[in-house]
């Protein structure tokens, strides 16, 4: 005997999401952010002949690489219902550590890069520990880490930029042109690989499953026998790994480890994630969305500069686009 033979069978009027609809809705959501992106691109292409050129498109991707990498990692954290404010200054600290390993300590290139990335993971472990074990709310745990990382970057570097004198090749990581003739930088290729990896991680692996599960209902996930503490630490560590990679990419791009800055980058990355349809309440989100969000931010910044909008108006424009993009997303969700 089945449940539904007793009750009236589902009828068309019973507009409830089913699997097919769910999938469609998922892609619609990305479609909407994607549509925003297309609209913005078309607008700038009409407004300036310098916008839609190979060189400028590569510039946009290059600009999106560092923030985008941060956004990829923090997507995991946000889907758990957390937040990571330490990614901006954490990235700066990882860049400084790359400088320390390579220039001060003379490690070989691969070791220094690996070391910096793992240092990012370490920041993530500490964040994860503070959030999962000490139960400090993510906003505060990572706000504290944001300040600590900013301070440590200055302390460790001696408040001076570190140059990669010993390993001149370091700058190739971001800048090496891998397609002769078109200036397609290696860093952008790295970013694309990271996108694919994180998409797989989020949608096809157990980490991804628990990321969604924790964000959806943490208590229930724990009651189901999942070691939520362990997995949360792992998820923050993943975010930290991306912070480390972003630190290396950014230092490589600047051919130097700058000990300052990074503040505000976390908000940019979070904005990219949310524009891409990931909910700050947790439980919902996608990598594709985050990539589109990061591209919207990068295109907007670049395009406004290309069409020479006075700089003071640029921040107004970005603010408005964030509001409109997320509002449209809300509208769609409610009508769906």
């Amino acid at each position: 005997m089945t449940l539904t033979t007793e009750t009236p069978t589902p009828k068309p009027a019973e507009a409830r999401p089913n699997a097919a609809r769910g999938a469609l809705r998922g892609s619609l959501q990305q479609l909407l952010a994607f549509a925003s992106l297309i609209v913005i691109v078309i607008f700038f292409s009409i407004a300036s002949p310098h916008f839609f050129t190979t060189a400028n498109i590569i510039s946009i991707f290059t600009a999106a690489t560092v923030t985008g990498t941060l956004a990829l990692g923090t997507t995991f954290v946000i889907i758990t219902g957390g937040i990571d404010l330490s990614i901006g200054t954490g990235m700066i600290l990882c860049g400084v550590m790359a400088g320390v390993f390579l220039t001060y300590w003379g490690w070989p290139l691969w070791a220094g890069v690996l070391g910096a990335v793992l240092f990012g993971a370490l920041i993530g472990v500490v964040n994860g520990f503070n959030v999962a074990v000490l139960k400090i709310p993510p906003f505060i745990a990572t706000l504290g880490m944001m300040l600590i990382a900013a301070g440590l970057a200055l302390v460790i570097s001696g408040t001076k930029p570190i140059y990669f004198k010993e390993t001149p090749d370091f700058q190739s990581i971001m800048n090496l042109s891998i397609i002769p003739g078109v200036r397609f930088p290696l860093g952008v290729a790295v970013f694309i690989v990271l996108i694919v990896l994180s998409a797989l991680l989020l949608s096809k692996t157990i980490v991804g499953r628990y990321t969604f599960s924790i964000g959806s209902n943490e208590a229930a996930t724990a009651l189901s026998g999942v070691n939520v503490v362990k997995w949360k630490i792992i998820i923050y560590t993943i975010s930290g790994l991306f912070v480390g990679i972003a630190g290396v990419l950014s230092a490589s791009r600047l051919s130097s480890a700058q000990p300052t800055g990074g503040m505000g980058l976390e908000l940019e990355a979070i904005a990219a994630v949310v524009i891409g349809g990931t909910s700050l309440q947790g439980g919902k989100g996608s990598i594709v969305g985050t990539v589109i969000g990061a591209l919207i931010m990068a295109v907007l910044t670049n395009g406004l500069r290309i069409i020479s909008v006075p700089q003071e108006w640029q921040s107004v424009a970005v603010g408005l686009v964030i509001l409109i993009a997320v509002y449209l997303d809300m509208l769609r969700r409610r009508s769906a």
């Binding site: 009236p8 069978t9 699997a19």
Partner: protein, 504 residues
């Protein structure tokens, strides 16, 4: 006889200021269904949470087939073979049914990647075994409460448990679904397994249980054989007093004025042309199967959901209600069915919850609230509804489910509305309290209020309603006078439409 399947000896558990369990004993024999009953707050859920590793006991020993257990956590309890369906849902709304059921036990392909296909296949196998018709890839957040409950049950059964604990599994189910559930329980109980079954529905105990253990005020009262003990005796063990048996609402023929008239109410998702009138001093019961649209009618009336068409006339005047605030201003109160999500402020105290709907009446000069007056009102309702709480400053989350429900009722009583819509007002409430709530509803109606009462329990509908409205698939199929209504004809009207909305 050999050792019982599960034995609890001398279990005690205190919360700050509350002794929830005091030296409680319980034994579950292999192959039986043991019912656990007691008033709201008697400690049933707490005892089960000790068994399932959610809480650690202050005192007490547990034995499984004679072997002493040390239960350290939910996962370990599951591994020991103790599976529980909690009173509150424990599902991940953003995941699919299959993902929910196998959370923590995902099948993997090649060691790294998850295989959605084998996950769905395993789930379908489970459903086939259990006789459930659910789509494993559906997202849980979009399911009805009843279907979510079935997912919970399927999840608990998917562990090869020896002891299955069910904490009020039928609170959200209708009769047909309850039958399905009982069928599942009977299939589950083999000579090596046992079920502990908690419910406030007395007639269910007779259908499903072999023995009944009674708790009162955190203490063990006794265990009786179901077959040889009359229900009235179980009830008096539970509450320590006699409950008057059921009686039907006497029909009053005197014509009364219409307070609320609903004409052609339709919503995008479900409701089709719902029209009815609600009269002063009457209780209009709404019956129907799960998903028939009763809740949706209520939500559309108070403006919690948008309606596509339809007019609402209040005291002869047409009104437009855009949100519950406007409804409340017009004197229409809605008591929702989902207590935890939509009813109470769990983190606030009893006092604040009681006056939430009527707070504007407790405002003095300059917008300052009159705390003394609030306290007086709150204490009044705590006494009147016999809400079991040490004081009005206790946080509502620390009350038992039934007492939380009373707090929600108190909130609407304090508001003094002309029209009150009670959606499943006795869900999760013990027999004694139910009786009190019935008396209250009658008293309110007698006092001239117009009441809509949505209930999935037919006996309750029949007992309380002056008239019974029956819904099926978003349509109103009948409005019956109490005298004409029977369980049989209500069920008939509730299944009036076959598939795709054609009339039978």
């Amino acid at each position: 006889m050999s050792a019982p399947l599960l034995e609890v000896v001398g279990a005690s558990k205190s919360f700050p200021g509350v002794k929830a369990l005091d030296d409680v004993h319980l034994d579950l024999r292999a192959g039986e269904v043991l019912a656990l009953v007691g008033e709201n707050g008697a400690g049933k859920s707490t005892l089960m949470k000790l068994l399932s590793g959610v809480y650690t006991p202050d005192e007490g020993e547990f034995f499984l087939s004679g072997e002493q257990l040390a239960i350290t956590g939910p996962k370990q309890a599951q591994e020991l073979g103790i599976s529980i369906i909690h009173q509150e849902f424990n599902l991940m709304p953003d995941l699919t049914i299959a993902q929910n059921i196998f959370i923590g036990r995902e099948p993997r392909s090649g060691g790294v990647f998850l295989s959605e296909r084998s996950l769905n296949r395993k789930t379908r196998e489970l459903f086939d075994r259990l006789g459930l018709a659910l789509d494993p890839s559906e997202v849980v957040g979009g399911l009805t409460v009843a279907k979510q409950q079935m997912v919970e049950i399927a999840k608990a059964l998917s562990y090869n448990a020896r002891v299955l604990i069910m904490d009020e599994p039928t609170a959200a189910l209708n009769d047909a679904e309850v039958d399905t559930l009982f069928d599942l329980i009977r299939r589950f109980t083999t000579p090596t397994t046992g079920v502990i079954y908690i419910s406030h529905r007395m007639h269910e105990l007779r259908q499903i249980s072999d023995r009944i253990t009674v708790l009162r005020d955190g203490r063990y009262v006794g265990t009786v054989e179901t077959a040889t003990t009359p229900t009235s005796e179980v009830i008096s063990l539970m509450v320590g007093r006699e409950i008057v048996s059921e009686q039907r609402q006497s029909d009053e023929s005197a014509p009364r004025e219409t307070v609320l008239a609903v004409e052609g109410l339709s919503t995008k998702s479900l409701l089709k042309d719902v029209s009815f009138e609600l009269r002063k001093g009457e209780i209009l019961g709404f019956a129907g199967l799960m998903g028939a649209g009763r809740t949706e009618v209520a939500r559309a009336i108070v403006g919690a959901d948008r309606s596509e068409s339809g007019t609402i006339t209040l005291h002869g005047r047409p009104v437009v209600i855009n949100n519950p605030a406007e409804a409340a201003k017009l004197g229409i109160g809605y008591l929702s069915e989902d207590r935890k999500q939509l009813g109470v402020l769990l983190e606030r105290n009893v006092r604040e919850n009681v006056v939430l709907a009527s707070l504007s009446e407790y405002i003095g000069a300059l917008g300052f609230v009159k705390d003394k007056k609030i306290e007086r009102t709150a204490r009044e309702y705590v006494t009147a509804l016999r809400i079991k709480t040490p004081s009005t400053s206790q946080l509502v989350k620390n009350l038992s489910g039934g007492n939380q429900q009373k707090v929600v009722i108190a909130k609407w009583l304090a508001k003094d509305c002309d029209v009150l819509i009670f959606d499943e007002p006795t869900r999760g409430i013990d027999v004694g309290a139910k009786d009190e709530i019935y008396a209250l509803l009658n008293q309110l109606a007698a006092g001239g209020k117009a009441i809509i009462m949505i209930s999935s329990e037919l006996p309750e509908v029949l007992r309380l309603s002056h008239r019974v409205a029956v819904m099926c698939e978003g349509r109103l199929t009948a409005v019956l006078e109490n005298a004409d209504a029977t369980q049989e004809n209500i069920m008939d009207y509730a299944t009036r439409f076959s598939a795709y909305g054609t009339v039978k």
